[in-house]
């Protein structure tokens, strides 16, 4: 009696609590596809500085301690922590033993939205857990390792210091770019003090340009026989070291995406390589983490610009690394991605873009056998659902006039330059062009996330679907177990198999007296391959995607034996008699 009383009191309290909450929320009606009552309030129409990213990660971690782990995987060059959120249903197994998807963004510091897309993924998965059966299942089976920015130093520099849309791109190590023995002695100068590096133009009798009489933001080139009014002087800056060059030695320059340990090449083969693979601390932190987490089976890195889902190889010289079986899986996932993200095309780096040696995706796949894509975020298509190409000035001016109402452009303004005399400064701001305008950010984040969820979903999932017993007489039994991989990806990509990157999968029997053990290659015609040494634990090179592997033991005696599968990238499964 007493118990009931207490219980009913407790229920009453709960009802009261919830009714007050729901009263407060009555202002809103659920939109499909979006967390409705998020514990962590977040806006997906603006960008976060490093501090903003860390703040949001901490909030997510605090709100969902059973779904997330927050850790620093290492320090950047400027000693900032590189934070990772691990997302999985922690109550259903060790997240580091589940097949995992790794996601990062912002390797190029000016390619900022990858961090927001990664954060959106972390936020969405945690907020939707409990709401959607699919997400519950996903986080039960899989783990997502999410590092929003792997270039925190220069991300902040891009945002807080004067930059173009294309700078710094590298991290904050300052190198000697012109070979004069001085490092970083002549970078940009923010002459008009607006925190954007725009263009300098100057009136000149030999100038080839005029301002468009109908839109004076626009410079147009005159016909060869016509006289123009302006000449272009390049990005805002001065000759700071007196060598007659302007802006020739700023931050960097090196390319963090030429620093990875697969077929790495030095700087003279491709400008941008640093000293040796993982000579940049940010990349080393990622590589160390990946080396210690063989459960990562899929990976995604976010860049901008161009609306692309990219796979390797980065260079023609590495063509043979990608063989047909793996390309088939790459194609299947990415073609689905093209449907999910309108305006994005599935391309191959070396063929459709340019050559990259030692890129991140090359190492993830070539060096670790992980199926990996790079998405080049933002594309002209998102503005008017037409593809007007990269940096189309006409389109961008139109966007700024009709959609962002002048927010994207710094109007030309006169300035007295110490070396050039009277000039004008103006042009598009650093946060326009490559970066999504706020109103396009959330949709594209969601679509790209959906693609990574599909990718993560297709990492291997193993189960023991059948164990059959047959008596062989004289106390001997033949036990045949079938292990099924119910997803697209095999436990070992063909690159992995070629170099034996990960250990074989282990299928073992315990609590049984094993006389012999073998892999069944063809059950119908009894083609088997015996493993003489240590037959209790059969070493299986690979469990194919959407396929099965059969193993067999001859055991003596009786007992309640148990069969276990243990795969680095496929997770674990077991069966008991």
């Amino acid at each position: 009696m007493k118990t009931i009383n207490y219980t009913s009191l407790f229920c009453l309290a709960i009802v009261l609590m919830f009714s007050s909450v729901s009263q407060a929320q009555e202002k809103f009606f659920r939109a499909i596809g979006t967390p409705h009552e998020p514990k962590v309030e977040a806006s997906w129409n603006r960008y976060n500085t490093y501090a903003g990213i860390v703040d949001l990660m901490k909030k997510i971690n605090k709100a969902y301690p059973n779904l997330t782990r927050l850790e620093s995987i290492g320090k950047s060059y400027e000693k900032k922590d590189i934070y990772m959120l691990t997302i999985s249903d922690f109550k259903t197994g060790d997240p580091d033993e589940k097949p995992a998807m790794y996601i990062d963004g912002n390797i190029h510091s000016n390619e900022i939205q990858g961090a927001e897309f990664s954060l959106y993924t972390a936020w969405y998965l945690t907020e939707m857990f409990g709401d959607l059966e699919f997400i519950n299942e996903l986080l039960k089976d899989k783990t997502f390792y999410i590092v929003p920015t792997i270039n925190p130093d220069a991300r902040d520099n891009f945002m807080k210091e004067p930059n173009t849309p294309h700078s710094p791109r590298s991290g904050m190590i300052v190198l000697d770019n012109d070979g004069d023995g001085k490092a970083g002695e002549d970078g940009f100068d923010d002459l008009d003090g607006n925190n954007h590096i725009t263009y300098m133009i100057r009136k000149s009798p030999t100038g080839q340009y005029i301002k468009d009489p109908q839109d004076d933001r626009r410079l147009i080139r005159v016909a060869a026989e016509e006289k123009g009014e302006y000449e272009m002087l390049g990005y805002e800056g001065m000759d700071n070291d007196g060598d007659g060059e302007v802006n020739e030695d700023g931050i960097g320059y090196y390319d963090p995406n030429r620093d990875w340990g697969w077929k790495w090449q030095p700087d003279y083969v491709q400008r941008g390589a640093y000293k040796y693979p993982f000579s940049l601390p940010e990349n080393r932190a990622v590589a160390d983490f990946v080396m210690k987490h063989p459960n990562i089976a899929g990976a995604q890195s976010y860049h901008n610009y161009g609306g692309m889902i990219l796979r390797g190889p980065g260079a023609e010289e590495d063509k043979d690394t990608y063989n047909r079986e793996d390309v088939r899986i790459y194609d299947a996932i990415a073609e689905k991605g093209e449907e999910m993200i309108p305006g994005y095309r599935y391309l191959t780096v070396y063929k459709d873009l340019y050559s990259v040696f030692g890129g991140e995706l090359d190492w993830f796949y070539g060096g670790r056998g992980i199926y990996t894509y790079t998405n080049e975020l933002m594309v002209s298509y998102l503005y008017y659902h037409k593809n007007e190409g990269r940096g189309n000035q006409e389109e961008e001016l139109k966007v700024d006039k009709y959609l962002t109402f002048g927010d994207a452009f710094v109007d030309w303004k006169e300035y007295k330059h110490p070396q050039y005399g009277t000039i004008e400064i103006g042009g598009f701001k650093k946060n326009f062009g490559r970066a999504h305008p706020g109103f396009l950010l959330e949709q594209d984040a969601h679509r790209n996330m959906a693609f990574t969820i599909y990718h993560g979903y297709q990492t291997p999932k193993l189960s023991i679907i059948n164990v059959e017993e047959k008596s062989l007489g004289s106390g001997l039994k033949e036990v045949t177990a079938t292990v099924y991989n119910e997803r697209l990806m095999p436990t070992h990509s063909s690159q992995d198999l070629k170099y034996k990157i990960e250990r074989p999968d282990l299928i073992s029997i315990s609590n049984a007296n094993v006389v012999a053990g073998m892999i069944v290659e063809d059950e119908d015609f009894n083609k088997v391959k015996e493993q003489v040494h240590n037959p209790e634990t059969l070493r299986i090179p690979n469990i194919p995607g959407m396929g099965t592997v059969k193993v067999r033991w001859i055991v003596s005696g009786s007992g309640n034996y148990k069969v276990d599968v243990d795969s680095a990238k496929g997770g674990k499964a077991s069966w008991s008699k």
Binding site: D176, G244, R503, V532
Partner: protein, 536 residues
């Protein structure tokens, strides 16, 4: 009398301490490095501690403005089993550290031992030719760590070979020296055939012997040029080890190095590398460039004039992931390598009775030579043992002892070290040398002055290797005139020159305003600097 005894005793002790009879162990090396560090021309520093807890050290040897003089880097211990290389590097350091004249012009970096753990195996209880460091590496990538190392089956403290009589074998005894195993071919008659393995047991019963050793990554397998990814002793990616990273981090900060001399298995000094136009034109440059091969040829001639030993079976022109090729292909410096010593060609054996012409193998030549030199203790006679993997079969342990084919008897080392020190000194004499000549100051109207001067590279080597010109890690020659920018009417205040050939000169001129003294400076750390004071 007592005093005399004490002095005698002291002399005796000292001579014991200083007359080494064998290659030094790590402790002795450390002692010699510390002794060197006492010299004011020498600065010993530690770059890192290896996974095995050994210091990786460098000696920076030179005088005054060390960082702005052209420098040569000398590296020993590229391979741990090549104990000679460490001694050569050490002796070079010891000899050069008091050579004031050489140090006036050149700075030397000596990395005495890059493979301390592998090196230590020479002195360990169990001796074998080791390459790997102390890190863990699953060499055969089967998911099991170092499950199949060597075993000393005959308990002699050294790892040699086993041979198993078997019709399935691919080896037979050498007709002239039955101790040596040679591969059988179709001309072989009905000689007994053997299987030959390194000394050990097939611990994991995979049919392979000693394929997953108790050692880690080999220094000389771990660099970025043609890195042999996933191969035994190489690891998952290039420059993965503390010592390789620490070395490169250090080298990338030493802008004055223009040449490397690696004491290692590769040899581009007895004869130069070959130029392959097609490979050189690839974007992943796979042949030394033409101009650099010319340099290699010239330096090779210097080497052969200085070193008394004649080349014999010196075919190693670099192997995948080695240091010597990295220094050229990925660091853009002139890079030379020599083992320092190799097994010489044995004199023809006049007593040979064999009618068929049997080619000498490396092993048979070695044994012949060893006999002619009266070297004992180089071979373990084949002796039958019981082997668990080959029950009821005749299994013997034996073979040439480790180390003896890569390292000469210690008594020969001093003369080798002296010759190689001389070679490096000659290499230093060819280093880039910038000089100003023919300074002229002409008075123009209105107080303007025209300055003209020639800059000469007074050396047999260019300032930049052909490949080095492409690298950002070699600085350009920078010419600075101290005049105020506004006072320079014509000419550059700062001018960058990407290369000057051997004996190339370049004329420079300025028109300047004003009087007084100006300073003109030209150079880069690896070429040294020329300076000139100009009175206007």
């Amino acid at each position: 009398m007592k005093q005399i005894t004490a002095i005698l005793l002291l002399i005796l002790v000292q001579s014991f301490a200083f007359s080494q009879e064998d290659y030094p162990d790590l402790k002795e090396i450390s002692k010699r490095l510390k002794a060197l560090d006492k010299n004011s021309n020498v600065d010993l520093s530690t770059l890192t501690k290896t996974e095995g807890g050994n210091d990786i050290q460098v000696l920076k040897i030179g005088k005054k403005d060390l960082d702005n003089k052209p420098a040569i880097a000398i590296l020993g211990g590229a391979e741990g089993y090549h104990v000679l290389s460490v001694e050569l590097a050490l002796q070079f350091a010891e000899r050069i550290s008091t050579n004031e004249e050489a140090l006036d012009k050149t700075t030397f970096y000596v990395f005495p031992n890059m493979s301390p753990e592998a090196y230590a195996q020479y002195h360990n209880k169990l001796k074998y030719e080791r390459r790997g460091n102390a890190s863990s590496l699953d060499h055969d990538r089967d998911g099991k760590l170092s499950e199949d190392p060597y075993e000393d089956l005959n308990n002699d403290g050294i790892i040699t070979q086993i041979r198993v009589q078997s019709p399935l074998g691919k080896y037979a005894e050498h007709p002239e020296d039955k101790r040596v195993m040679i591969e059988v071919d179709t001309t072989s008659t009905n000689a007994a055939r053997y299987k030959v393995y390194s000394e050990g047991i097939d611990n994991d019963k995979d049919g392979k012997f000693n394929e997953d050793l108790n050692e880690g990554i080999a220094f000389n397998n771990s660099f970025t040029y043609n890195f042999p990814a996933f191969e035994p002793l190489a690891g998952n990616y290039a420059v993965s080890q503390k010592e390789s990273r620490a070395l490169l981090d250090y080298l990338f900060q030493q802008w004055n190095i223009y040449a490397f001399v690696t004491f290692g298995p590769a040899n581009n000094l007895s004869s130069p590398l070959k130029y392959d136009a097609q490979e050189a034109k690839k974007r992943i440059v796979s042949s030394p460039l033409e101009g650099d091969v010319t340099i290699n040829k010239m330096i090779s001639e210097v080497y052969n004039e200085t070193i008394s030993q004649k080349a014999f079976m010196q075919e190693n022109m670099g192997t995948d992931g080695d240091f010597f090729q990295w220094a050229y292909f990925h660091f853009g410096r002139l890079s030379f390598s020599t083992p320092g010593w190799w097994v010489p060609e044995a004199k023809k054996d006049s007593t040979s009775t064999s009618e068929t012409k049997i080619k000498d193998t490396k092993e048979s030549n070695f044994l012949k030579w060893a006999k002619q030199e009266n070297l004992e203790d180089v071979f373990v006679e084949w002796k039958e043992i019981n082997h668990p993997d080959f029950e009821n079969k005749t299994v013997e342990v034996g073979g040439i002892k480790p180390f003896v084919m890569s390292n000469p008897p210690f008594s020969k080392v001093d003369s080798i070290a002296i010759e190689h020190t001389n070679f490096i000194l000659k290499l230093a004499q060819h280093q880039p040398k910038l000089e100003f000549h023919n300074l002229k100051v002409e008075n123009l109207k209105g107080g303007l002055k025209r300055i003209t001067v020639n800059l000469l590279n007074n050396a047999n080597l260019p300032t930049h290797s052909e490949l080095g010109q492409r690298s950002r890690w070699l600085r350009k020659i920078r010419i600075d005139l101290s005049a105020e920018k506004d006072n320079i009417i014509a000419g550059n205040k700062i001018e960058l020159v990407s290369k000057m050939d051997a004996l190339e000169s370049k004329s420079l001129s300025w028109i300047v305003k004003g009087n007084g003294k100006l300073n003109l400076k030209a150079g880069a750390p690896h070429t040294g600097f020329a300076e000139l004071n100009i009175n206007l």
